[in-house]
């Protein structure tokens, strides 16, 4: 992409993001108090979730050279969800993100350990072990439904993914601090994108160009686990965003992570805001789980792009 084209893309996306945010915040809003106290926190949570899932999916796909890689398939989301629900059931509501982080790291380590071979990481094995770990975590979460029937709606909400977290003021300030941390981490990940570009061409090439692949992998592994933990402890497991958004962007903007990093991020955010907007307003009372909408809209969009490319 030329510089001119990149600037145009960013301008267009920025404008779209603004329009969508305005719609999300102001559509049928009853009062300014409600806008600030209830819609704004939900908006920030939705935007952050979309941004984090899409960028982490993008990075996983590059790092592992595998089109199926995403936080859900690699077990990170489920591990994090399992641990944050455990924290909730034990009564440590405020510690949910911390537990989530522990769960994400544990799940990732387990997946890594299963997939590790003598010569390095086998990406097919990695996806398979990710799916297995993810299933184990989901099974334990389902088991909780039997053990703690009083908590069933929270557990189901985590499994299906929902953005209707009810914040208290204190919780909201903690959340805002975590949002700030997430922005810093996402920026840091951007500065790793050059090395990631090189790693994606193959381990050998990367070594010969002086990239310390083991160190970068470890860094990315920890940073993405923190990001996923923050998001899942509030929004549960929302699949699909991390898988399809990076693909759509790469089909349009090419494989260079330096070019597509921020575009993926913004489109991820816009996509989830739109989906949650539909989930929130489609029925005159109550709301639908957002996971249903992301899957329906996302898969149709994805299929149509896939067909066009052929």
């Amino acid at each position: 992409m030329t510089k001119h084209k990149i600037i145009n893309t960013y301008l267009g996306l920025g404008f779209l993001l603004l329009a969508v945010s305005f719609l999300y915040l102001y559509y049928k809003v009853p009062s300014t108090e409600i806008l600030v106290a209830i819609r704004l926190p939900r908006f920030i949570l939705t935007l952050l979730t979309g941004v984090v899932l899409a960028s982490v999916g993008n990075i996983y796909q590059m790092l592992l050279n595998n089109p199926l890689a995403e936080p859900y398939i690699l077990g990170t989301s489920s591990g994090s969800a399992l641990f944050s629900i455990t924290a909730y059931i034990m009564g440590f509501t405020y510690l949910m993100p911390l537990f989530g982080f522990a769960g994400a790291v544990l799940a990732m380590t387990l997946v890594w350990f299963i997939a590790k071979t003598g010569s390095g990481i086998n990406t097919v094995k990695l996806i398979l072990s990710g799916i297995i770990v993810s299933m184990i975590c989901s099974a334990i979460i389902s088991l909780y439904i039997y053990l703690f029937p009083n908590q069933i709606t929270i557990i189901m909400g985590t499994l299906m993914g929902s953005l209707n977290h009810v914040f208290t003021n204190l919780e909201y300030y903690i959340f805002l601090a975590l949002v700030a941390i997430s922005i810093l981490l996402l920026t840091y990940l951007y500065f790793l994108s050059n090395s990631l570009n090189i790693i994606s061409t193959g381990e050998l090439t990367a070594h010969s160009l002086g990239v310390d692949t083991a160190k970068i992998r470890k860094q990315i592994f920890v940073i993405t686990s923190i990001l996923i933990a923050i998001v899942t402890s509030y929004a549960g497991i929302i699949g699909f965003v991390g898988l399809i958004i990076p693909h759509i962007v790469r089909m349009i903007c090419g494989d260079n992570l330096r070019n597509n990093y921020f575009i993926t991020m913004i489109i991820g955010g816009i996509f989830l805001i739109l989906c949650d907007f539909v989930a929130y307003h489609i029925s005159p009372f109550g709301e639908l789980p957002v996971g249903i909408i992301t899957t329906i809209i996302g898969s149709f969009f994805f299929i149509s792009i896939l067909r066009k490319r052929n």
Partner: protein, 283 residues
């Protein structure tokens, strides 16, 4: 030699068969028995004086305490179907929702299955009568129904009906007028803020609750009063300002989540809370 071995074998097989069949017969010791999978039906049957008719129950059928001595064949949403069939009950009572599937499965075995779900006080009375008819315990039934109706009629209704938000789960799950709880709220003199919606349960939108500005909040979602009053945007809600938040600490949750004779306690409590609100309005 061979002949005697064969006859020995036959004797063994027949003996084992007899032993086995006597085991099966043991399970069948109470052919008049009934199986109850629904906690509220179990409670109603006990109150009708039919506790000794129950040969199996599920884990949550725990009231009155004597119920817990009866064999349990599962929890609310999964039961041991094989065991139920082996018990050869003459009648099975189930609840609706999660228990819908046992209803279909058990009926396929030719056992009479009765599904009980009360979504209003009127249907509760009908169901008590139905259960009593099935078990021929009708004397006690009219007593139960009359005493509940008496409690219902002797309530003093508030002259200012409070707007009520009833929470059953922390993600803002609530009920409408077409549920038993919704009907109890009406009978106690309250107005459910989500009453008019055309289904019995829903996940409400946070902003809709704040906008509706309820005067009383009854939250049986295992949240504390503090947690609820600290929610963002809720400080302007009337119920929060006046401290009219009632939680699981204020009521035995089974008296309202189950539709049982004990529910009259919930009805009286709700009415008291609504009257308390009413008093502040007159001054």
């Amino acid at each position: 030699m061979l002949k005697s071995r064969i006859s020995l074998l036959i004797i063994l097989v027949v003996g084992a068969g007899l032993l086995l069949s006597s085991c099966i017969n043991k399970d069948n010791k109470n052919p008049k028995g009934i199986v109850v999978t629904s906690p509220e039906v179990a409670e109603i049957i006990a109150d009708l004086g039919g506790l000794d008719l129950i040969i199996a129950r599920t884990e949550y059928c725990d009231y009155p305490p004597e119920m817990q001595e009866i064999e349990s064949i599962g929890d609310f949403s999964s039961i041991n179907i094989e065991r139920v069939i082996a018990l050869k009950p003459r009648l099975i009572f189930t609840a609706a929702f999660e228990q819908e599937e046992f209803y279909d499965k058990l009926q396929a075995f030719g056992i009479e299955v009765v599904k009980i779900h009360s979504n209003s006080l009127a249907s509760y009375y009908e169901n008590v009568q139905l259960i009593a008819d099935k078990l021929k315990l009708t004397d006690k039934a009219s007593e139960l129904i009359t005493s509940f109706k008496h409690d219902e009629k002797s309530l003093t209704l508030p002259s200012n009906h409070p707007k009520v938000y009833f929470e059953i789960s922390p993600n803002l799950g609530t009920v409408t007028n077409s549920s038993f709880i919704g009907d109890i709220i009406i009978k106690a003199g309250g107005i459910n803020i989500f009453g008019e919606i055309n289904k019995d349960f829903l996940i409400a939108k946070n902003e809709d609750i704040v906008e509706a500005n309820p005067d009383v909040i009854i939250a049986l979602s295992y949240m504390s009063k503090e947690e609820i009053s600290l929610r963002r945007g809720w400080q302007d809600i009337n119920a929060v300002k006046q401290g009219r938040i009632y939680t699981v600490d204020d009521i035995d949750i089974d008296t309202i989540m189950r539709t049982v004779p004990r529910s009259t306690e919930a009805l009286k409590k709700f009415n008291q809370w609504f009257l308390d609100y009413d008093k502040t309005q007159d001054n």
